[in-house]
Amino acid sequence: MELCDKSILMLRQMLDQKEISSVELTTYYLDRIKEFDHQIESYITVCEEEALKRAALADQRIAKGESKSLTGIPISIKDNLCLEGVRTTCGSKMLENFIPPYHATAAQKLLAEDAVILGKVSMDEFAMGGSTQTSYYKKTKNPYDMTRVPGGSSGGSAASVAAKLAAASLGSDTGGSIRQPASFCGVTGMKPTYGAVSRYGLVAFASSFDQIGPLAHSAKDCASILNTIAGHDIHDGTSAKHKIDFEAKLGNPIKGLKLALPKEFFGDGIDSQVKEAVLKAAAEYEKMGAELIEVSMPSLKYAIAAYYLIASAEASSNLARYDGIKFGYCTPHAKTYEERITRTRKEGFGEEVKRRILLGTYALSSGYYDAYYKKALYIQDKIKAEYRSIFESCDAMITPTAPTPAYKIGEIEGDPVKMYLADICTVTVNIAGLPAISTTCGYDNDGMPIGMSVVGKAFDDAAVIQVADAFETNFKTQNPRL
């Protein structure tokens, strides 16, 4: 096994037993980035100097026997998480020169353990997209096939982990932005329960859905990262006081668990190879002693509409802050105050971001509010109620993560409606604020990874990790050939 194939837990042991230093490990990853990232294009900013400084600090800490779970582990972070003194672009021209004056809480928690942040990775502009092709900077490729998308919006995170250009990554998930790229790139990605991780310092998109989470080589690694970054934070009014031990159920038996299979997630719109792989994985759980129960989520057909309505409404409000005055891009072509704002926004935002702002404004404007926004909130309640009913009799739910494996670059990104519909398997989890993890459960005929999602009850993140880990233990993954 090569060094880059090792899990965080294995690297932890190697570092603590002084088989390797963090400076050596960090240099190894920085060399891999130099060798491979010109093809993958996952990093927007590589923090070489700072990473090596942090690695040296980690080595001192390890020498004192004071290491924590992520001390000295090289990690990439999505470029919508603020890192003091390091440019944070959110994939947008609007933030081309933005240098945050503070760390995001999740990043601060990594640094407090002397984890090594290798750099900031690419994403769809303002996290609005599922392909990482709307990034103003790096249009990241899928390490399994460079002609395909890595998914998105955390495509840089997923590709950097799949190509072994980081041991793990932090991403964010508003409608599937961690799980779908994890699925496309053959890695494990988890969106924890809404409120589990503070979003302070995460560039806001749709605040009632946004969550930060890890992408890594395994569910165990995700649990380890979540135990570091989760917790209540006074800087985020939605962060929960509920304490979660993400590793609490690792290794617990699957026997006796009731796993829900919602029939609407296995319908006509789902690729036959995806369906087959996920059902085969479900059968593995049955062999482990779980009981599979067919359930129904009738409101799934309204989920995309409700999700895009609420997310766009919140985005139109959140993105009002980009006015060319306080921070971010400012047009040089304006004489009046009004021109300064409207032209800055015209020149600074990309097409998809503008569409969502306009849609959100439409939904919230007088005369349309009840028909759209209020209706979407009612559908949100219906979906929550349907999940509650499923989890009255089941412990977790199994679904495909995406309707298809990774598609070719340029295939559907130009069609917003097709792009939105591709999120059908992930958005209900955000709508209901639940924890969900995507793990690889197979490969299609072209060798592209297929992801399966495990969804759980709110704050029962440990069960979701337990179920994903049980499958991973007996599943052999295939590495991309770089």
Partner: protein, 94 residues
């Protein structure tokens, strides 16, 4: 029904300058998206009368106590136009 007049109005509300030449294209793209949103019309409010539809609850807000804030100079570093500790904008009143 979306048309260029409504697009002009939405652009104004959104503080987005949009070229005349782009309006027709935006109307067509947005109309397809709004058609997708209209699938929600099948759901009637009576069906969900016991549901509140209130969105997120903010249960964990901190106490409203003043705390040390950011250093003004540090915050102003990201502004393109500034002077004497303030943001500078084009003249608003003649």
């Amino acid at each position: 029904m979306l048309d260029t007049d409504l697009m002009t109005y939405l652009a104004k509300l959104s503080k987005l300058e949009i070229d005349e030449a782009d309006k027709e294209r935006l109307v067509s793209e947005m109309s397809a998206i709004v058609d997708l949103m209209d699938t929600m019309n099948e759901v009637t409010f009576d069906e969900c009368e016991n549901l509140k539809g209130e969105g997120v609850n903010l249960l964990n807000l901190r106490e409203d106590i003043s705390r040390e804030s950011f250093d003004r100079e540090k915050i102003l570093k990201n502004a393109s136009h500034k002077k004497d500790g303030f943001f500078v904008v084009p003249k608003i009143m003649e």
